[in-house]
Symmetry: C2
Amino acid sequence: MLVFIGLGLGVDGMSLRGLREAQEADMVFAELYTSLMPELDLKQLEQKIGKQIKVVGRDVVVGDPREILEAARKKRVAFMAPGDSMVATTHVDLRLRAAKAGIETKVIHAASIASAAAGLLGLQSYKFGSIGTIPFQDNQSTRPYDILTDNLRRELHTLLLLDIGEGGRSMAAEEAIKIMMGLEERLRRGVFTPSTLVVVVSQAGSENPVIRADRADRLRDENSGDPPYVLVVPGRLHFVEAEALKVFAGAPEAAVLWHMHHP
Amino acid sequence: MLVFIGLGLGVDGMSLRGLREAQEADMVFAELYTSLMPELDLKQLEQKIGKQIKVVGRDVVVGDPREILEAARKKRVAFMAPGDSMVATTHVDLRLRAAKAGIETKVIHAASIASAAAGLLGLQSYKFGSIGTIPFQDNQSTRPYDILTDNLRRELHTLLLLDIGEGGRSMAAEEAIKIMMGLEERLRRGVFTPSTLVVVVSQAGSENPVIRADRADRLRDENSGDPPYVLVVPGRLHFVEAEALKVFAGAPEAAVLWHMHHP
């Protein structure tokens, strides 16, 4: 039996049912590479579930998960992952491998940044388009910029995740904004200009999430709380959504007005 | 202080942090009308958080939430809701009202059917379009059918929720399929025909979720587990998504092939 348990967002984001399943498992694996969880205290988590957690990397989960599958063939094995454990494609793949090997699987859901970011900002979750990931400067990919262009054409909001570097190095929000503005300078589609309304979310799901909405150039020159970050670029805003951005994210009236008139 | 706590999906879907916040609150309200939680044992939940829960209806939350706001002005008040508490627009509205009245607010996230259904089926969450709700037969709205048409045009997957009737009456999955097939007969856009590949998800997030993918006409004539249900109509399927529907939802090869060739 292989039980996928979502760790949710921030400390203690796991569900009560997830905790029980982890306590009842014979062995517990965890991957912590699909998302940064700086606040996560592994020792404390081990104490809560009453057993050791074996942290595995991408090389095991994606490359060669035999260790996990062989354990799950005979025992009750839990596999923990940040957010909702099934949002990452590679985990769907691991679940498929298990199912094909005749191993029973179970999914314990938790909050995912995909739906949480929307709720935190007061934006409608179904009005989000494809999710993009901003790669580090040395990677010349235009993909997040292309996704943003495509979503805006459909008037949809865009969630942009920030890449995680070697050894878990996190990208600063300011750096991500600079990279997107650099792509704008190269490709000039007018989707991430200095005046574009952008939202920086810092530490979603933690005790103290910081949300700042403003023009891209202002947010680029500011320090926006602590990692992890995500960026949101709004598409067409409903009246209540615009209101929520002002109240919960401190969006200046002028930046919102500019946005409403530059679709 | 007003703390919005998501109850997540199924029993014990709330996060560990949500439990702690509820335990620390002076007063706890809950709404249970935006989603059916048949397994939820209110008495047990009250025992866990060590205090009584006041269940409030739509008339209070949407109509006149003064009782909640006035309590939150002086005390630490928790407001619990199914799924991720911020996915429902009306709760964003309540949070806005609180913020404007100078009341501090906080959001404790949990799993939402919006991201969980995708993960459970092995479908990519960002490939879902707008969410529709299927109303009871006596309501002549074509809205879920219109949303489905629009999503399919963009090759996106569609999550269809089932309406909740007076006194919390739930709609059967078979009934929902009949209603969608009735709309197809009236509007004839070829998006919900007898051969259309449909997925019925029963009791997502519970101990025993049942997922069945098949032609619409077959699922209409079957009993599909217990409520609550949601329907998913896939858009363009990636190879791994098609595989997941076969393995996790028992989709017959023929139904998947038909789907792949009728975009």
